[in-house]
Subunit: 423 residues, 2 copies
C-alpha cells in the first residue's frame, strides 16, 4: 500500500486530537483510499517531555524543525504550534521544500496568509487551513465550492467560542462579565490573557480569512470595525431578555454594490433568528446570497477532536489530489475589487441601556425624549426590579447617534450602544 | 479562452434557474477559472414551445437526445427532466459517450444510482448529484470530504420541503392537513398527486442517497420504515404545542455498533432543538459523529435558483478537475458492512392523542392507566377547550406499545402514536 509520511509541528491539544482521529479512522482510510498515512516525526520544544505520546503513536520526537522540513520522505507538514513566529518561518521552509502544508493557525493566516499562499503557489504545493476558522464547520471548502457559483451578499457569524460561551452564561445564568470570564478560563476556553477573545481580535482574524473566500478581498485588521464584549452591562442583558433578543458577538461582512462593511461587534440578535440558538462554545455562520438564498452552518468551533478531524480532512484532500495525479495545487482563486465602506450616511438601529440619576416616570421620560428625537426613539422601557431605562432606536446615522447619546446624559449614565442585527 | 460545452435535458424550473445563475456568474467564472461555459443544446419535447428562452440564452433546441449525447463537442450533460424513465436511459447514453453528467434527480439516483455509478466509473467520467438531496445544502460534498475522516453515528434531517411547509402551517396557522395540502399545492410546492411527498417516499429517496455518503451502505425503499404525515390529527398538533414540541417529518439514520436503523416518520421534536427552527419549505440536516460532534446544515431544499446554483457548483467541480488534469473521476468510495436493524428490543418514547368516549376526570384516568402501565405513562394531560387526552410514554418496545394501544381503546379512539425524537 502506498505510504504518505507526515510531519507535525507542535504536540498540543489539536495535534493530539488529530492523532486520535487518525488512529481511529486508519482502517477506513486504508480500505477506502488505499493509502497508509504515517506520522513519522513531531517537532517539540527542547526539554518537552512527550515520550509517552510518541511511544503510543510510534513517531520520532525532534527538536530541530529541519529534521522535518528537509526530510525527503515527508510530503505533508501539519503546523499546530500556534502564534505567528516561528510558525511562519517553519511553514515557509516546508513549502519551499515542496511539502504540502495544513495548519489551524488563524492568527498567522489572517496576518501573513497572502505571502504564504504566494509561496505555496510558486512551489506548486497545497496550503490548507480549514480548521483555522470555525473549527469543524467546513465553511472555507463550502465557500470555495458551493458558493463559488453564487454571489454572496452577507456573511454573519459567531466565530469565537470563548466569548459565545461567556455571553451564554451571562444570559442563562445571569453571570457578570467577570464571572463568565473566570468560568471560561476554568473550562480551558479562554487563555490567561483573554484579550484576543474578549476584544474581538480572534473573531476579526477569522473574518479576514472568511472575506478572502466569500468576497475575494484581502482585508487587514485596521480596516475592520472591532468592538469586544467587555462593555456589556448587566442591564444590556436584562433589557435584551425583556425585548426578545440575545446578545452575540457577531462578525459580519455585508456587500452592497461594490462596497463591503466588515465588523465585529456585540449585537442584539432576535430570539427567532437561527444565530440566537448558537449556545456555549459553539459556532454558527449565516449566509445570504443571490442563488442559494439563506443558509446556516453550525458546529463546534474548537476542541481537540473536532479541530483534529478538520485537519485530517484537509490532509485527505491533499492525498486525494495526489492520487488523482493532479499536476498543481488548487487555491481559492476568487479575487474581486471591493471597496471597504465608511459611509457616513450608513444607518443602524441601536439599543442603549441607562442607569438614570433621577427618579422620574418612564412615561414622562419617553414623552420628553420623543419630542427631542421624534423619529428615533421607538421604545423606552423600565427594567425589572431596578431603576433603569432601555432605549431602542430606529435607523440612525453615526451623527444622529452621537446627538442622542449627548441628550441621554441628561437622564443618567448610558452604557455602550449595541447594534440591532439587520434581518 | 478554453470553452466547455454543455447539453441540458429538460427545460423546466431547475434548468431555467441554472441558466439564470450561469448567466449572472458568467463573468466571475471566466475571470477566475479562465474558462467559458457554453450551453449549446437543450432537449425539449416535440412541440414544446421554448424558443423565447432559447433565443434569450442563445442555445439550440433539440427533440432527439442523440443530438446531445452524440455531440462530440459537448463534454457535460445536465439531466433536469425528472422521473426515472427515460432519464436513466439518456444518462446512460451520455456516460457511455464519455460525457460527465450532473443531475438533480433523486428518484432516479435512489433507485438506480448504483447501476449509473458503475457505468460512470467504467467510462471514467463524473456523475454528480448534489442537488438531488436537500437542494442547495452541500451535504453530499460535506459528507464525502469533511466527514470522510470521521465516524457518523446519526443523521437526522428534514429533507422534504412540501411536508415541512404543511406542518409549519398546521402549527403556526392551526390549519388542518387538508388546508395545508391545498396551500402547498397553490404555492407550487406539492404536485397534484402529492403521494410521494406526504407519504414520505420523497424523503426516503433522499435518505437512501444520504446513507450511501454517510454510512457507505446501499439501501432500498423496502428496507426503510416509512410513515407519512396524513395521519397527523389536530389534537397531535395542540398536544405538541402544550408540551413544548413541534412535529417534523424526520428522516433518520442511526448507527449503533454495526446496526443501522433507517426511517422516515413524523416525530415530536423539542422546541429547543435546532431542527424545530427549520420552518416552511426549508431543509435542515443534523449530524452526530465521533470527531466533529454535533453539526447542523440548513438551507433551501428546492427552488429554481438554489437548485440551479447547486447544479452549477457540480458543473464547476467537473471543470476544476478537467483543469487539474485529473485522470479519473472521483466517486464517494465509502462502503462498509452495516446491517439494517429490526431489533424487537428497540425502544422508543411515544406521544399518543385520544378523543375519549366517556367523560371522566383526567386524574382518574391517569391513576388508572398508571396502574396498568406503571413505568410507561409519564404524562396524561387534558387538551385545551376540548375533551381529549395526551399520553406521553417512557421508552417502550413495539410489543409494549401494542399493549398500551389496546388498553387505550378502553378510553376512546386514539390516533397514530408519534415518536419522540431521541436527543
Ligand atoms: N484548541 C482548539 O480547539 C483550536 C481550534 C482551532 C484552531 N486552533 C489552532 O490550532 C493551533 C494549535 O492549537 P492548540 O490548541 O493545539 O495549542 P496548544 O495546545 O498550545 O499546542 C501548541 C503546541 O505547540 C508547541 N510549540 C509552540 N511553539 C513551538 C516550537 N517553536 N517548537 C516546538 N513546539 C512548539 C507548544 O508548546 P508550548 O506549550 O511549550 O508553547 C504546544 O505544545 C493554534 O494555531 C490554534 O489557534 C486551535
Ligand atoms: N424544482 C425543484 O426545486 C427541485 C429541487 C431539487 C431537485 N429537483 C429535481 O430536478 C429535476 C427537474 O425538476 P424541475 O422542478 O425543474 O421539473 P420541471 O419543471 O417539471 O422540468 C422538467 C422539464 O423536463 C421536461 N421533460 C420531461 N421529460 C422529457 C423528455 N423525455 N424530453 C424532453 N423534455 C422532457 C418536462 O417537460 P413536461 O413538462 O412536458 O413533462 C419539463 O419541462 C427533477 O428530477 C426534480 O426532482 C427539483
Amino acid at each position: 500500500m502506498k505510504e504518505v509520511k507526515i510531519g507535525i509541528l507542535g504536540l498540543g491539544v489539536v495535534a493530539q486530537g488529530f492523532l486520535e482521529m487518525l488512529t481511529s479512522q486508519k482502517q477506513k482510510i486504508e480500505a477506502q483510499k488505499g493509502i497508509k498515512l504515517i506520522v513519522s516525526k513531531v517537532l517539540v520544544r527542547e526539554g518537552e517531555e512527550k515520550t509517552t505520546i510518541a511511544n503510543k503513536y510510534g513517531f520520532e520526537l525532534v527538536t530541530d524543525v529541519k529534521k522535518i522540513t528537509e526530510d525527503d520522505e515527508i510530503s505533508i507538514v501539519i503546523e499546530l504550534m500556534g502564534r505567528v513566529h516561528p510558525a511562519k518561518e517553519f511553514i515557509k521552509q516546508a513549502l519551499e521544500n515542496k511539502k504540502h502544508v495544513v495548519t489551524a493557525n488563524k492568527d498567522l493566516l489572517a496576518q501573513e496568509g497572502l505571502e504564504l499562499i504566494t509561496i505555496a503557489k510558486e512551489n506548486q504545493v497545497g496550503l490548507y487551513y480549514e480548521a483555522s476558522v470555525a473549527g469543524a464547520i467546513p465553511i472555507l471548502r463550502t465557500l470555495a465550492t458551493s458558493y463559488f457559483a453564487d454571489n454572496i451578499q452577507q456573511l454573519t457569524g459567531i466565530v469565537n467560542g470563548t466569548t459565545n460561551f461567556m455571553l451564554t452564561k451571562m444570559f442563562e445564568e445571569a453571570w457578570t462579565y467577570e464571572q463568565a470570564l473566570q468560568a471560561a478560563q476554568e473550562a480551558g476556553f479562554a487563555e490567561s490573557d483573554p484579550t484576543n477573545d474578549v476584544d474581538g481580535i480572534d473573531a476579526a482574524y477569522k473574518l479576514i480569512i472568511l472575506a478572502r473566500f466569500a468576497f475575494g478581498v484581502n482585508l487587514t485588521l485596521e480596516q475592520l470595525t472591532i468592538q469586544g464584549i467587555r462593555q456589556i452591562h448587566p442591564l444590556d442583558v436584562s433589557g435584551a431578555q425583556q425585548l426578545g433578543y440575545t446578545i452575540k458577538l457577531l462578525g459580519s461582512l455585508i456587500k452592497k454594490d461594490h462596497h463591503l462593511t466588515a465588523c465585529v461587534q456585540p449585537t442584539f440578535v432576535p430570539d427567532t433568528h437561527l444565530l440566537s440558538s448558537v449556545k456555549n462554545e459553539l459556532n454558527g455562520i449565516f449566509l445570504k446570497s443571490d442563488g442559494i438564498g439563506e443558509s446556516f452552518h453550525y458546529g463546534p468551533g474548537a476542541g481537540a477532536l473536532p479541530t483534529g478531524t478538520s485537519v485530517l480532512a484537509d490532509v485527505l484532500t491533499i492525498v486525494d489530489r495526489q492520487l488523482d495525479g493532479s499536476a498543481t495545487a488548487r487555491f481559492n482563486p476568487y479575487q474581486q475589487p471591493v471597496h471597504l465602506e465608511k459611509d457616513p450616511e450608513k444607518t443602524n438601529a441601536y439599543f442603549i441601556s441607562l442607569s438614570p440619576q433621577i427618579e422620574r416616570k418612564i412615561s414622562e421620560v419617553q414623552a420628553e425624549l420623543q419630542t427631542t428625537f421624534p423619529k428615533t426613539i421607538a421604545q423606552v422601557q423600565e427594567a425589572t426590579n431596578q431603576v433603569a431605562l432601555y432605549v431602542v432606536t430606529e435607523q440612525l446615522t453615526e451623527a444622529q447617534l452621537a446627538e442622542l447619546l449627548a441628550e441621554l446624559t441628561n437622564y443618567g449614565e448610558h452604557h455602550q450602544p449595541l447594534q440591532l442585527m439587520e434581518v
